[in-house]
């Protein structure tokens, strides 16, 4: 067979071309256009490598640093960098800076991700550490400043990065919520999504034919390696993840940026790109995948449970268009990860390969294709609203205040839920409202009903309902279903009874 008709090529052949400066490298975006215009065969002949990229907030990130020994030496027990506590020191002077650890003085605003970015940028960072002291490590405290040049090792080490795809977040409740998917306005007024879709590395090689243990990658503006499947790797439903490591001293603050999500906490945005060697026509087809073929679930994040309701499926093409349709409603949607930076990652990696600075590695082992992401084993159950709610004492809007006063006395309750003939929630009246109405000589219930009612959902943890009562300074929440039909009521008494048990 002549070389021209070859149906496969090897990574060694591609690397030789890279070294000679002959390799044909396209970004994932360019590859898709080429396959669409010229077909799989032509694309296979013409392209050796496709570069992919993603730039998202990757919370399970961090950095390992080794400080070197102080004199006298210390075996650090607790340590802080710019007032951010760094976790689980190993022996003596190894530290792990977790991206989500928050600064004690500026919680939620400054955290481990920012510290990593500052170190990468070459800035000085303040170190404080304490220890119990031993004969071999006598020192009990140390305070100094460090830069990346002072460190022996400074590795970015991420347990779970590069999510193949991620769900789209929406909020069906009546209140704004702040999540790791950012700010979600009430009643589906916005939605957010994450991930680069057709540019994502794992989406372009969805069964990890070329991406595996030992694959050399673009990481944070420097080079890194895949060191295994990421935690929560769930390949069977296209939710693969990667564990990665790289020398952070050679990374760039442009591709590693600390981030703060209001009322959630801090994180780290990371640029991650993987070159995909086009070894056969199958990989041409895989790298030709389009956003229209990549789907994800729209999830209601207002439900405070592990398994949140899925409202519908949308494609990344719809997500990137800026609006999706959920329950017949047009909802504007925006990206959390930067698509502009994802493209820049793929382009930078392409430039490196074109310049002969970056050669490809064959994985020494493939990523697992059969792992399952299991939920936590829980030996203690927590109470939910449905466990403590009881039937609500109700009334109709056209009833007289006197009749309701009687009901409050006979039923010995403080809250009466106002409903319509379909049992749908209209409002609430309390014994206090009734007392005041009597004092003021009011007769009609309609004049005193509170119509803006804070409600609870039967499936939510009692703790969150209890928090909401405290937040709004109220003592009961009508429990309603998704159509606002009243199912019962939960009161602060129910909560205290449970706590006193």
């Amino acid at each position: 067979m002549s070389k021209r008709d070859q149906k496969t090529r090897t990574i060694e052949e591609i690397n030789q071309k890279i070294i000679k400066g002959d390799a044909q490298v396209l970004t994932a975006e360019e590859m898709k256009k080429l396959v669409e215009s010229s077909g799989v065969e032509v694309a296979f002949k013409e392209v050796d490598v496709v570069t992919t990229g993603t730039f998202g907030a990757m919370c399970s990130s961090g950095a390992v640093i080794n400080l070197g020994h102080s004199d006298p030496p210390i075996k650090i027990q607790r340590a802080w960098l710019n007032d951010v506590e760094v976790c689980h020191p190993g022996a003596a002077v190894d530290l792990f800076i977790g991206a989500t650890n928050s600064c004690e003085k500026k919680p939620f605003e400054y955290g481990g991700g920012h510290v990593i970015q500052e170190l990468v940028a070459g800035n000085e960072v303040e170190l404080r550490a304490t220890a119990y002291g031993s004969d071999c490590y006598p020192r009990a405290a140390v305070k100094t400043t460090i830069t990346k040049d002072d460190l022996n090792q400074f590795y970015l080490l991420n347990f779970r990065n590069c999510y193949q795809r991620y769900s789209c977040a929406i909020n069906c409740s009546d209140e704004t919520i702040y999540t790791y998917m950012n700010k979600l306005l009430p009643r589906m007024r916005n939605a957010t999504f994450s991930g680069a879709g057709e540019l994502n590395p794992l989406m372009n090689d969805p069964n990890y034919e070329t991406i595996g243990f030992g694959t050399k990658i673009f990481l944070g503006g420097g080079q890194g390696y895949i060191i295994g499947e990421g935690t929560q790797h769930s390949p069977q439903n296209l939710n693969g993840t990667l564990m990665v490591k790289g020398d952070a001293k050679k990374m760039s603050p442009e591709f590693l940026q600390g981030a703060a999500f209001t009322r959630y906490g801090t994180s780290l945005y990371i640029g991650l790109g993987i070159p995909i060697p086009i070894l056969n026509e199958g990989l041409v087809r895989k790298t030709a995948i389009r956003d229209t073929e990549i789907f994800t679930d729209v999830i209601d994040y207002s439900v405070m449970r592990r398994d949140r309701p899925k409202l519908c499926q949308v494609s990344y093409a719809e997500l990137k268009s800026g609006a999706i349709t959920v329950n017949n409603k047009r909802v504007r949607v925006s990206s959390l990860s930067s698509l502009k930076m994802a493209k820049k990652v793929a382009q930078t990696l392409k430039n490196w390969i074109d310049d002969g600075q970056f050669t490809l590695t064959a994985p020494i082992e493939r990523l697992p294709l059969d792992t399952v992401f299991k939920p936590m084993r829980q030996t203690q159950e927590i109470p939910f609203v449905s466990n403590v709610m009881h039937p609500a004492i109700t009334c109709m809007e056209n009833e007289e205040i006197r009749a309701i006063a009687e009901r409050i006395v006979t039923k010995s309750v403080n809250h009466i839920v106002v409903i319509d003939s379909y049992s749908k929630l209209l409002g609430i009246v309390t014994s206090w409202d009734i007392t005041r109405a009597m004092a003021e000589g009011k007769k009609a219930l309609a004049d005193i009903v509170s119509r803006k009612v804070i409600t609870a959902n039967p499936d939510e943890p009692l703790e969150s309902a209890s928090k909401r009562m405290a937040q709004h300074n109220i003592s009961a929440l009508p429990v309603v279903d998704s159509e606002h039909k009243v199912l019962g009521i939960v009161t602060s008494e129910d909560v205290s009874k449970l706590l006193g048990r």
Binding site: A57, Q257, F261, G322, S334, L339, M341
Partner: protein, 149 residues
């Protein structure tokens, strides 16, 4: 066009203040945003440049506090165009350009009365500076007019 921010106290919210100013002075105003309840409220109005002075003093006579809302400021060095802010904006003042950058339309933005995007920026690149006083605006306007003469 200029933008002004009215603040109405508890006693003013039940009065038809905006209608009165419009009818008495025969001016045009567009209400861009309004947040009002029984305890008070804020209204952002867009008014014609040559009617700013008349309208500001008319509202002040009615007892409203009038200021110029400061627009949102974006630090383009910090922004890496994630896009978190885009779908939050109620007046669609934030958009994604063809090269996937984020663009703020200062004409559309209602400024500090809204602020919905500010705490959603993960790199805190969006800032709203508190209201400047209309006194400054009066000075600016009059100095402009002097220059025109």
């Amino acid at each position: 066009m200029a933008r002004i921010l009215l603040r109405l106290n508890e006693s003013l919210v039940s009065e038809p203040v905006v209608s009165e100013v419009i009818l008495e002075n025969k001016v045009l105003v567009a209400i861009l945003a309004a947040h009002i309840n029984s305890k008070g409220g804020e209204i952002v109005l867009e008014v014609q440049d040559d009617e700013v002075d008349i309208i500001v003093s008319a509202f002040r006579q009615k007892g409203a506090t009038v200021t110029v809302p400061k627009l949102i400021e974006v630090d383009n060095n910090r922004c890496f165009s994630c896009g978190s802010c885009v779908a939050l904006c109620p007046v669609e003042a934030i958009s994604v350009t063809e090269d996937l950058s984020i663009q703020f339309n200062k004409e559309k933005c209602v400024g500090s009365v809204c602020n919905i995007c500010v705490d959603a920026c993960p790199v805190r690149a969006i800032n709203s500076i508190r209201y400047s006083n209309t006194e400054n605006m009066h000075n600016n306007n009059s100095s402009n007019r002097h220059r025109e003469k």
